[in-house]
Amino acid sequence: MSQRADGRDELFRRMYADNFDLVLGYVLRRVRHTEDAADVVAETFLVAWRRLSDVPDGDDARLWLYGVARRTLANQRRGESRRTALGERLRHDLAGVAPDPADDVVAEQTLRTAVATLRPDDREVLLLSLWEGLEPREIAVVLQCSAIAVRTRLSRARGRLRGALGNDPPPDGHLPGKHPLLAREEGR
């Protein structure tokens, strides 16, 4: 194998190691059945492997991968994605060990139901902020739209949830507690 190929392999291995859990988490939070995450994760990293030269360096890779995973998820939901031959063991292991989000307690189900009333774009903006801890401008990279559009959608999503839950979501940004996000200009 050439040195160039070795370098490429090493680059991918490092990127994979750095981002596997992040991408898996992103996908697990969005699939109905945990084992379905295996296909999306496999497809996402397969795209990255094929297009490694397009993957940004360092932590920017995460945003790029989220963008790919998001589109792969969308295709899966529309029934357009093929069942990948890769990741069979991951599928098997996930089915065996990961908790199923559908088994949430009532309070969580209430929130889940409320979130489900959001339009897909608004929901994704909100979840990227709350769960992935992204700033509007990072979300904009994932969704390929402007940061201002993200802020608008975030505001709209919060308004809807406020109406649906009769309660305020937590403030945007770098939150205290278990989801330490980057506050900055979040939500504006």
Binding site: R89, H174, E185
Partner: protein
């Protein structure tokens, strides 16, 4: 406050016993041929700007940190709002800060009664100045402890705390003075450059802030006239009062326009319950509204209007339109979450 459960917190994902599966998948993927041009449509088209690397790195790092920390480790405010010690000779309404440096331009400004932000950019460097009501000081200072150790620095004359997200991304929180606290974050520059910029900041009162802004920013005194112009070709329901929009502070035009249009649309959503044809007709011409063309330049806000119009056109029940449009809990002013 509503609990926001994360069904799969990051640490829980990391703890999953998937080591064999992840290695197997890696090898499977790397055994496939490399086809540089496939799946292009599935990937983002844009490469994130370099400054995002810093923020991304910070997010990735802090996401794995267990947070609980003692509040007493937070730098305490130097004084209480309104106290002589806290005021330090600073004008009571000097709660904002600005940067006057050649090459730095104002990217956006937004403000509510309680908080606000101005963001500057210069090439790949960004400086965000955020002011907040003093009641939020402890919340943010405690939260920033999760970043890591902090340094004692002086910011605008007060002992403050500085954290480093990484070598090119720093933030500093200034304690409460005159009822407000400041946070300044600089990205895309090293600490020395960041600290230099901190030294160039100056506190400003309302007049000073207005003077430091580009003409394009809408001042409180300009809101009414600006909204009137923005809504000139927008049909509004009988009784709609622009004075009740609740837009306050200094804002770039997008926020003023978005707040005004949102209020109009939500007013029509109210009308829709009793006069669906009238409301639907009012929004049917939204694609021609000049203000939406301006807002569309900055994002997809127009989608909100068009999708609401589509809901009405398709005869959705009033309650569904209200919920799906986001008007169920509509605020009449600029809503920033």
């Amino acid at each position: 406050m509503t609990d926001w459960p994360n069904p799969f917190p990051h640490q829980a994902v990391c703890d999953l016993p998937l080591s064999h599966a992840r290695v197997e998948l890696l090898e499977e993927i790397m055994s496939t041929p490399v086809l540089d041009q496939v799946d292009r449509a599935a990937a983002p088209r844009r490469t994130p700007p370099r400054w995002l690397a810093a923020a991304g790195a910070a997010a990735a790092v802090v996401a794995t940190v267990s947070i609980p920390l003692a509040l007493d480790a937070v730098h305490e405010p130097a004084g209480r709002p309104g106290s002589p010690a806290a005021s330090g000779g600073v004008a009571a309404d000097a709660r904002r800060a600005v940067l006057d440096q050649p090459g730095w331009t104002v990217e956006h400004v937004s403000e509510t009664a309680d908080d606000g932000q101005i963001e500057y950019a210069s090439g790949g460097r960004r400086l965000s100045i955020m002011w907040r009501t003093g009641a939020l000081y402890q919340t943010f200072a405690l939260d920033r402890q999760a970043i890591g150790p902090s340094k004692a620095v002086e910011l605008l004359g007060l002992p403050s705390r500085q954290w480093a997200y990484d070598a090119s991304d720093h933030t500093t929180i200034r304690p409460v003075q005159n009822g407000s606290t400041l946070e300044v974050r600089g990205s895309g520059m090293d600490e020395a450059a960041y600290r230099t910029l901190l030294g160039e900041l100056r506190l400003v009162d309302d007049a000073g802030f207005a003077a430091a802004l580009p003409e394009s920013v809408v001042t409180p005194g300009e809101v009414r006239a600006t909204v009137a112009r923005m809504l000139a070709d927008v049909p509004v329901p009988l009784g709609f009062d622009q004075a009740e929009l609740g837009i306050s502070g200094f804002n770039t035009r997008f926020y003023v326009g978005a707040g005004a249009v949102r209020a109009v649309v939500c007013a029509w959503v109210e009308v829709y319950a009793g006069a669906p044809a009238k409301a639907s007709a009012a929004l049917s011409g939204a694609r021609d509204w000049v203000v939406l063309q301006e807002l569309a330049v900055d994002g997809s806000f127009a989608e909100f209007v068009h999708e609401t119009a589509d809901l009405m056109r398709s005869g959705e029940p009033a309650a569904a339109v209200k919920l799906q449009s986001g008007c169920a809990a509509a605020e009449t002013g600029v809503s920033r979450g």
